[in-house]
């Protein structure tokens, strides 16, 4: 029987995907990895798309950058959407481009009215150019801006309301940021408009000590921790059942380990449903 939860498609597993079809519910690919139009990457995506629902997760649009949208990048994303017909398309609430160069990282925004206006208009432009709704994901962050006048969850809720975008709720990112900044993760999740949340991400993170202070770092390099599983159950109680994805990007283990994490996500979802009923 197939699971409901999906897993992130990563190159270290391409060999395994060539010869097996584990019972995960769906797959998510980093869109930019498949921008090149030849060779092994598009070939494997083409084959897997026939067997699993697919989601395209953008990592490089830098929607919050003041710089104009990189229209070439948008056009490539659009071409991918036309070719692979994904069920979901998502990006991040972040910036990263300045003066024509790219930092290739997911950098945090101040939560101000100015930034909100800017991002909402960018997301609107993106949705118009792609001809479809996109989901915007919350980040793990390690700093906050003095000028922020909104909480992150208020910013996300307003962004969804103004631009009509959906939200990709990364529960691990909520937990990491909650720990790093001392807010209540459940309050964050409860404040999101439930109907806007179209996808959930789960992943592992690390704990670092900097100057004696504990900082949680979003490495995607370990199993989902117990606190995040419990927060996931809470999130499902608020948003209802939505497609859930397990991601692993550093020290990537065997594919079976991810499949087991997806099975655990299903078990948590099952318990959450029983609690609601």
């Amino acid at each position: 029987m197939s699971l409901a939860a999906g897993v992130g498609l990563r190159a270290p597993h391409h060999e395994a995907w060539r010869s097996s079809r584990p019972p995960v519910g769906w797959l998510e690919a980093h869109a930019e990895n498949y921008f090149p139009q030849g060779g092994a990457q598009p070939a494997i995506l083409e084959r897997l798309r026939a067997d699993y629902p697919l989601s395209l997760h953008g990592v490089g649009l830098a929607l919050g950058s003041v710089e104009p949208l990189d229209l070439q990048h948008v056009a490539r994303l659009r071409r991918m959407i036309e070719r692979y017909q994904p069920m979901l398309v998502s990006e991040h609430l972040c910036w990263g481009r300045v003066d024509g160069s790219h930092l290739n990282d997911l950098l945090p925004l101040p939560y101000t009215e100015e930034a909100l206006r800017h991002v909402a208009s960018r997301v609107g432009e993106l949705q118009e150019r792609l001809g479809r709704r996109v989901l915007v994901e919350n980040l793990s962050t390690y700093l906050r801006f003095a000028d922020s006048t909104l909480e992150e969850w208020e910013f996300l809720a307003a962004l969804a309301a103004r631009s009509g975008c959906g939200l990709l709720l990364d529960v691990n990112n909520v937990y990491v940021s909650a720990c790093n900044h001392g807010f209540d993760a459940r309050r964050f999740i409860a404040a999101l408009p439930a109907t806007a949340v179209g996808e959930i991400h789960l992943a592992g993170h690390d704990v670092e000590s900097i100057d004696g202070r504990e900082i949680r770092v979003d490495t995607h390099g370990s199993a989902v921790c117990d606190e995040v599983w419990s927060l996931y159950g809470f999130a499902l109680g608020h948003v209802g059942p939505v497609p859930t994805l397990v991601e692993w990007d550093t020290d990537v283990p065997e594919l079976e380990v991810l499949v087991a994490e997806a099975a655990r996500a299903d078990a948590v979802a099952c318990t959450a449903r029983a609690a609601v009923a």
Partner: protein
């Protein structure tokens, strides 16, 4: 558990005159690109909250991540260069390269393109001048791996129907993944010995004076294949790939080697799928 603590946005002591978003991003980006010993940007730090850990330390986390990500991708693209120079050397060279050639795209596939030229400028007059040619071979390999699949394939039957008087002016369409590399140094041997970790211990000693090497890189299945070739074949393929007519390319080849066997070279090129069409 401190994760569930109060937090909130108590703004006591925080400056209220905010930086415009554009200036904030410009200063933030400059701080992430700065070298280790750069003076901190007080205006930027004033726009960040300390929250129990100095803002400069928080910024440092992002700076290291940006640098580390770039270096990770560069090492993925130039594994032989990293082994040849060593990890610490590669890190320094890579950071210097990043400052000179920042990424221009949200897709990291292109960042290594200027690396061989960068190494040529920095190392061209040193005993490590051959690094640039090894890097050029590694970049050609990266391009070969992701180049577009061709639209069609060469129809040999149709080719054979070209009138004899017209064969000299026909032009072959190179496969999009075809890459041709030539060097005064034995770059293929050096690359082959260093591009992957060796199960049998240290790489062998290689004599730079053993002579130059040429290589053909092509799509093989869904992956790539690289093989040595002789200089006349390289010159012939380079001429054809540049769009020169079959006759002109042959003349280029025989100027390198009067004994160049075009029948054999053509059969091999077609067998390897180096062309995906022709124009009569």
């Amino acid at each position: 558990m401190h994760c569930a603590g109060g937090g909130g946005l108590s703004m006591a002591g925080a400056p209220t005159a905010g930086l415009p978003l554009a200036e904030l991003q410009r200063r933030f980006a400059a701080a992430l690109r700065a070298p280790d010993d750069a003076a901190p940007d007080a205006t930027l730090l004033g726009a960040l909250r300390d929250d129990g850990l100095p803002a400069a330390r928080r910024l440092e986390l992002y700076r290291r991540n940006v640098q580390g990500n770039f270096l990770k991708v560069l090492a993925l693209e130039f594994p032989a260069i990293e082994r040849l120079g060593g990890a610490a050397w590669f890190r320094q060279a890579g950071l210097d390269f990043l400052r000179e050639h920042p990424s221009r795209s949200g897709d990291l596939h292109g960042i290594g393109a200027p690396f061989a030229g960068f190494l040529q400028r920095r190392l061209g007059a040193t005993p490590h001048a051959y690094f640039a040619d090894v890097a050029a071979l590694e970049w050609a390999w990266q391009e070969c791996l992701v180049a577009p699949d061709p639209d069609g394939s060469l129809d040999v039957g149709e080719l054979a129907s070209v009138a004899p008087r017209d064969v000299g002016v026909l032009r072959f369409v190179p496969h999009p993944a075809l890459r041709l590399v030539g060097s005064r140094w034995p770059v293929f041997t050096i690359w082959d010995a260093h591009r992957e970790p060796r199960a049998d211990g240290d790489p062998p000693t290689i004599d730079l004076d053993r002579g130059g090497e040429c290589a053909i890189l092509r799509r093989s299945g869904e992956g790539a294949e690289a093989r040595r070739c002789d200089p006349s074949t390289l010159a012939w393929l380079q001429a054809l790939a540049a769009g020169q007519p079959f006759g002109d390319a042959w003349e280029v080849a025989i100027s390198h080697d009067a004994g160049f066997d075009v029948a054999r070279a053509l059969a091999e090129a077609v067998r390897l799928g180096l062309f995906c069409g022709f124009r009569a």
